[in-house]
């Protein structure tokens, strides 16, 4: 989702224009909704998001990177799932609805939007050694194909009992 970011460094404001083609067009915003203390979302006549205004922008965005020509600043569900490295439905179940995952900056009927920097920070935190969550390196068990895992489980079950005895004999 490429967007243009206008930054007012002096007043610590940023505006993420999600539809860069609308830049300099008068009156494309039909209404603005202050969704949080630092966020104002602009909607067009169809209720689609035009842009997001962020106050105290320096604490939420990498202003140097965001100020460069069109870049990815926000992520929808599909992009966020891609960042985490899982499928969209699993992302919603395992991440988006969890309390420790960053809150979306916008949650509308049409979907949720996150700041990429928030997700990146979350992933960085989770990847720190000693944290429960996404391991830094896949374990031997994780990297094993499913069929091999099943075979190993079956072998461990059969090894627990004496293979020479039948089920009825063991029960006696």
């Amino acid at each position: 989702m490429l967007s243009t970011v206008q930054i007012d460094t002096e007043n610590d404001l940023a505006y993420i224009l999600l539809r860069p083609e609308l830049q300099d067009r008068r009156g494309v915003v039909s209404r603005s909704v202050r969704v949080a203390e630092d966020f104002v979302v602009d909607l067009d006549h169809d209720g689609q998001i035009v842009g997001i205004e962020i106050r105290h922008a320096s604490s939420r965005l990498n202003l140097k990177r965001a100020g460069e020509a069109p870049c990815d600043v926000v992520a929808g569900v599909a992009e966020a799932a891609e960042m985490v490295g899982i499928k969209k439905p699993n992302f919603v179940r395992d991440y988006a609805n969890k309390t420790d995952f960053p809150a979306p900056i916008v949650a509308l009927a049409s979907g949720r939007l996150w700041l990429r920097s928030d997700i990146e920070e979350y992933l960085r935190r989770r990847r720190k050694p000693g944290c429960i969550g996404i391991p830094t390196k896949p374990t031997a068990e994780m990297s094993m194909p499913t069929s091999a895992k099943k075979r190993e489980v079956l072998e461990s079950v059969t090894n627990r009992s004496d293979p020479t005895q039948s089920g009825r004999q063991r029960r006696r």
Partner: protein
């Protein structure tokens, strides 16, 4: 209510000169009943264009009685909301000097 933020010591003339140099819009207006110079940053002007808010409308809201102006969450920042026709507009501003109002942003409430 004292609207002067801490450190408001620069002379209005030098501040306005700087703002003009930065390409900000500078014009006469009122803050409540007091005559002030209203400055709109380039960022604020872009937001106003997108949101179809005129400078005249901003000045009209700023001229509302000072009792309806409130302090913003950030230090030295103020907000005022008022109706223009069917629309309720909110203006966020600062007072960088005595008799100078700098409009930071404006949006439809």
């Amino acid at each position: 209510m004292d609207h002067r933020p801490r450190g408001e010591s620069s002379s209005p003339a030098s501040i306005l000169e700087k703002f003009r140099g930065d390409g900000y819009l500078v014009r006469d207006g009122h803050l409540g009943a007091a005559r002030v110079t209203v400055v709109a940053t380039a960022y604020a002007l872009d937001r106003m264009t997108l949101r179809d808010i005129d400078v005249e409308e901003v000045c009209e809201i700023l001229a509302l009685p000072r009792s309806s102006h409130g302090r913003g969450k950030s230090a030295g920042r103020f907000e005022v909301s008022g109706a223009i026709g069917q629309r309720q507009l909110r203006i966020v501003y600062e007072k960088p000097a005595k008799a100078v109002v700098k409009v930071i942003t404006a949006y439809q409430d």
